[in-house]
Every structure is written in C-alpha cells, then in structure tokens.
Assembly symmetry: C2
Amino acid sequence: MTPPPSDVEGPPRAGDNTRLADIRATAGRLFEERGYASTTMNDIAAAAGIQPGSLYTHFPSKEEIAVGLLEAFNADLAAISEVGLKEAQASYATPEEVVRGLVHSMTDLSMRHAAAVRLRAYEAPTAATERFRTLVNYQPPSLSKAWRVATDIFASGPHNARVDLRLLRFTFDQATLAAASYFPGQCPKPVSRLFSDMQLTGIAVACPEDAALDASSAMTAAQEVTAQWAAHRRRSNPDKASELIAVARAIFARRGFEATTVRDVAEAAGVRMGTLYRRVSSKDHLLRVILEDYSNTLTAGFETVLSSGSPAIEVLDAIAYLCVHAERRFNEEARVVKLGSGGMGASPDTPMHDYFLQSERRRRSLEHVVEQGQRSGYLRDIATSADVVQAARCVFWLPYQDVDGAGRRRTHQYLRESVFRGACASR
Amino acid sequence: MTPPPSDVEGPPRAGDNTRLADIRATAGRLFEERGYASTTMNDIAAAAGIQPGSLYTHFPSKEEIAVGLLEAFNADLAAISEVGLKEAQASYATPEEVVRGLVHSMTDLSMRHAAAVRLRAYEAPTAATERFRTLVNYQPPSLSKAWRVATDIFASGPHNARVDLRLLRFTFDQATLAAASYFPGQCPKPVSRLFSDMQLTGIAVACPEDAALDASSAMTAAQEVTAQWAAHRRRSNPDKASELIAVARAIFARRGFEATTVRDVAEAAGVRMGTLYRRVSSKDHLLRVILEDYSNTLTAGFETVLSSGSPAIEVLDAIAYLCVHAERRFNEEARVVKLGSGGMGASPDTPMHDYFLQSERRRRSLEHVVEQGQRSGYLRDIATSADVVQAARCVFWLPYQDVDGAGRRRTHQYLRESVFRGACASR
DNA sequence: GTCTATATATCGATAGAC
DNA sequence: GTCTATCGATATATAGAC
C-alpha cells in the first residue's frame, strides 16, 4: 500500500545490507583470529553489539556465515585465476613481471579474505556440512594452469636452470594464499614484493656452492639433530598415556584441536571417557604435552644450529634443512599448530599460546641471524629482517611432500636454488 | 580388567535399563499430560531427577524419546490387531463376545500407551521428522480387517438391522483408541465394558421411535440452534483481526496450538509479525478468542436443549444431534481442542484451561440429565452417570465425516441405533 | 553415567524506521 | 499502518570433567 517500492523478495535495502555486511565482517575478524570452532555466536553477537539470537535475523546458522565468507573468497579466487591465466598467456610483459603480477594478486586476495584463508585450514567441527567441506576444498582449475603457464614462459627467459619449477609453482601458490596468516593486517604490496624477491632474486648476495654449504658446521650440526630425531622415533615407550597422546595428536592434526572433542579422542583410542581422564588430566593437557615436546625439540635443534658459529647464509641453509625435515618428521605437530590459533588469537596460559611464545623466540633468534647477515653484506636488503624471516618461515614450512616425489633432499635443494640463489638469477 | 562381564556392545544391564525405562516412563507421563510440544527436556529431566544434559546419555534427542514410545505402541497395536483378526476369524465365541474381546484389547492398549495415544494426535513441531510422522500415522492393516470381520459375523447373529456397521466399526476403532484421553488412569476393564454396552446394548430402556424423537421439543430446540449456526456463518464480518483469527484457527487445527508459532500464523495470513501484533495482542489471545467463541456457542446450544423440558432420552438424542452438527460446523475448533491439552494438563488462566472449565460445566449438566434418566428408569444403569456421559462424549464427538459419505443425518441416525437402541438389540 | 557450563537456535513480543 | 530488525527468555543439544 505504501508508495515507496518495498519489493518483498527483492534485494535487501542499504540499511540492512550494511548491518549484514557488518556482522559478516565482525564474524570474519573473529574467525581469522580464533578460528571457526572457537568463535561462538555469542562472541560474534557481542562484537557486533547485538543479542546472540538477533544474529539469526541475518544468517540462518553459524555455518552459513562462514559459507558466505568462503563463497566470496572462492568467487574472487576464481576471477583472479582467470585473469592471471589470461595475462600469463598474453604476456605483454616480461615473464618475471607476469609472475610478480600473479603473486601480487594472490597475496592481495589472501589479505582481503583473511577469514576465509583461516577457514580453509578446515578447522571445522565434526558436524560440518558437505557444503562447507566442498567450499573449503575449492580449487579453480585455471589457477594451477596460470601458475604453470606463468612459470613456463618464465623458464624460457634467463633464469636459474637448476630451480625446480614444480616446487616453485607450489611455493607461490601456497605461500601467497598463506600470506594473511604470516603477515596479518599488512599491506599486500610489500608482502607480495617480498615473496617475489625472495623466490626470484634470492636473499644471498653471493651464495656458496652446494659443496661448501653441505660441509658447513651449521649443516653438520643440523644433520646430527635430524639423525637424533630419527633415532628418537624408534625408542618408543608405549605407556598408556603416550598412546593416548599419539592418538590425540593424529586427530588434532586432522581436524584441529578446538574442533576435536574429548569423546573423539576416547573413541579413536578405544577407551571410555572415564579411562581417558584417568590417564590424562584434561584435553588441554594432551595438547600441552604434544606442543611442549614438539617446541622443545625444535628449539633445541635451532639452538644447536645457531651456536655452530657458521656465517648467516650457512646457518639459514641449515635451518631450511631442519624445517624441511621437521615438517615431515613432526608432520602432525606442524599441522596441529597450523590449524590452531597460532598467533595472538589464543588466550594466555593456553598450550597454544605458550607454543606461540616459544615460536616467537625462535623467530627472534632467526631475525638476529638475518640482521647480522644483512649488516655484514652477505644478505640482500630486500626487506626488514623481521619480514624476511617471516617470509622464510612461511616458505620453509610448506608441506612440499604434497608435491608428489618431492623428498627431503630435493626440497632442500629447491630452497637453496630459490630462496638463497634466486630462481631468476642466471648462473 | 574387572571380573564382572562388562560386555561393550551388548544389551544394557538391568540397572541401565531401569534408568532408561524410568526416563521413558516419566517422559511418557508428561507427554500424556501436556503434549509433545509443551513438554521440555527440562521438564523431563526435573521429573526424572537428573540434569537436562544427562538425558542425552540415554536418548539422542527429544524426538527419539517420543519415537520410542510410538514404536512400542505400534508394536503392541500390530500384535493385538493380529490376534484380534485371528480370533474374529476363528470365532469359538459368540459374535458379541468377539467384538467385546477386541474392544477390551484395544481399550487396554490405549490405557497402557496413553502417551503414544496423545502423541498420535500429532501435536508435533514443524520440524518433526518424516519418521515421527510415519510412526504417528501407522495403521496395522489387520486392525481394520479385524473390525470388519468381527462386525460382519456379528451382523449374521440377532442384531439391530438398522445399525450402520461401517460407522459401528469406525466408532469402536476410534473410541477405544481414545479411551486413555477420556478415562485417564482408569482400569481398562470397566471402560471397555462401558464402550461395548453403550454401543451393543444401548443406554435407553425403551427408546422412542424416530418420529417421536424428531418431534421432541428438545430436538426442535436443537434444530433451531444448528439453523442459527448455519446462518451465523454467512454474516461474516471480515475485519482484519477476524481474518487473522480464522487463519490461526486453521493452523491450530492442523498442528495444534503449542506446535504452531506466531510466525507460522503471520506467514499463512500474508502479513509480517509487526502487523500481526498490531491486530491481535498475543498468541494466547488468538486461542482465547477462538475457544471462547466456540465454548460460548456450545454452552448456549446445550442450554437451549437442556431447558427444553424434554425427558432424558430426548434431551440426549438432541445433544447427540447437536454434537454431530458442531463437530462439522466447528470442525477446526473441535480439532484445536482435541490437539490441545484439553484436560488437567493445561495450567490455570490459559485459554485452554478456561475452555476446559467450561467444558466441565457442560459435562456436569449432561450428568444431571443422565442421572435423572437413570433414576426415573428411562436409562439403563450400565455405569455411573459420570462414566456414561464421558463415554457418550467420546462417541458423539468422533469425526464421522472421515467415513466417506457419512452425512450429519446418517451419523445422527447411527447414534440413535447404537448408543440409544443398541446394535445388539433385535427389533 | 552424571554433573556443570555453555553452545546453537527458536520463540513470543516489541521498538522504531519508513 | 506496515515491516524490519531487534530483544529477552528459553529451548534443544554438546562438551569437558569427574
């Protein structure tokens, strides 16, 4: 009856849209910080300044909020992939410019959809819908094609012929998408430049030959550490608590700590709840033991390498070696950390937060190494030491094993050729 | 490790079973009293003396509790139907004994599964599963067959040839199943005897001929009342509140008041919540208006007939006439009442409770008529006046329209032949 | 198996924009 | 006068812990 056009089924009006978008953004921020499972509707409502029940005016469920974020991300991802593929095929620009352009697009995407990036880590409860899973696993076909075409044309130009292009593609693909996790809230431009520089130019001013690196005292120390890791595996002490911890570790690695219930662990271990609580004191305790073991092992390994007295490049090379080995030897632990709220999201005194503090210490010691290397002219000044370390961590810890046939040796060699020597450098 | 057999997947032990059975029984009692929708898990937990969350150790959901009750009922119903059919086909006993046997089995079943009987009224929320609906609508094929065979053999013996056997079957089928609602907590034996006596023997000592009944002043009064009802329908005053009430009435009749949400009503009426609440003050108000109108109309009609000065049989005949007409003219209202917590279940000061109080007054005035008839020797002493009235109400208000082709006239005639003259009487 | 705490979600009802 | 977005209460259900 009212004159103004109040189309019943039409698109929501500006006012509504703003509020809906506001809730989506608020939820996105929380999902990014704490993950899907640890963000409650109460949290979202409180952050949006409304009652929990009122959220359901705008979204039919919590999952639907996440789904909206994922769909927006996927749409952008598809669009960027298409454009990236076209540009790679057209190539008015130099191969390097094409690659840098795609790296920037993807880094920018990651930054703009930080929440979706976190959600894609698939920290979803057991009850997650098929739809959720489908969206999380979405891969636009044109993206891998774009990376392939971009790196192929790049290969025809002057470049480091020994760099493994398959691993290079994988690195760009994974690292750019992970950008939001490693550089939260930062401007995409310098971050993407850093990624490109690190891979294409390399961070070493004059990288030693493989033989020299292999013989460095840092590398010798690193090899001793990894040998110890391998040995440690065999003397398994199967007391009952440890069995439970191993089971928990496997599940945490698959679904994330928050999304895993104590009942899940008990069931997988074939015990009842009561038995489980007789053997371990709490769910947090399980995670604490897992992460403390892991963190201490890493810290010890890092310190061994750092105290080897080798120059910066050799130390970083040995650290890369260590990371590649750790990512496989402690694959589950690494996944638990990646799925968890690794950063500022975790509240103090939680196992995850404590791990984060330790991890920060390791990061800082690497920063000192990089600083020293930059000061003494062995390392290029492509970015601040903090950013260089952050980008290096992002790249060193990628799951290269997912690229079929990529063993530890091949992976480490790839890191030498790209991160240190630069995929663009003609040798 | 403990010696006693703690079979993991085996059947629950006596102790557990008891607790589960206890919860089931407690829930059943509440479902019976208040209906499915108005019984909360909190209610059940409180009545069972445990915490609400603990219920989920034994049942995965509220619906599953109801499903268990319905399944038990359906199993018993199927068994009794089978036995009933066999006995009807074998017939060592007289036809009348066969019918009385089946009436008793079914009445007993109704009493033992009072909760399921109430659940079958289908007062289930919109969200009810297909499974729930299927169980509620379950009809063992052998049951209708058993009634058919039983009444058919009965027809070959000495009986009132003018009784409509189809309606007789329907009455037995429906009335016995409804027994628990009309005679809550009572012993099935006397109730089933009352049902059988009322239908087979009839309550009148010497029932007047149709012509005499048709000409009674009670019947004349009743016809005036129903004529008024029909006239009243036409002068519909379509103000907006009334439209809403009509819509609400239709939905309440389908799903029950408790299981209907205000949003359901608004949607069906094509208005938004705000508009609805501008026209009616509350959900309770909707029900109140519906039931008060209905109850006042019924009471006025009853009083007109009761004050006609006719003798008991004529008054009851006219009341039967009135009920048959009311059940059709006010079919929705009648269904709302049947679906609602018609009895002691409703808490005071609710529309349903107020209706119940009014309905009790009508019942009492009928009791006086029956008492008077019994005292003066016109009505048989087949039971107390209270029980006779209760059984009569149960029978008078059945939805005979569900039997195809059963018009008001045929239905009323049937009631004369059965309830008053007796289906077994040879004329 | 049960407790306590709390999660997600729905419902009746209303305030206030349009 | 109508509709949207909201509230406060409460429902069903799950989780960690014992």
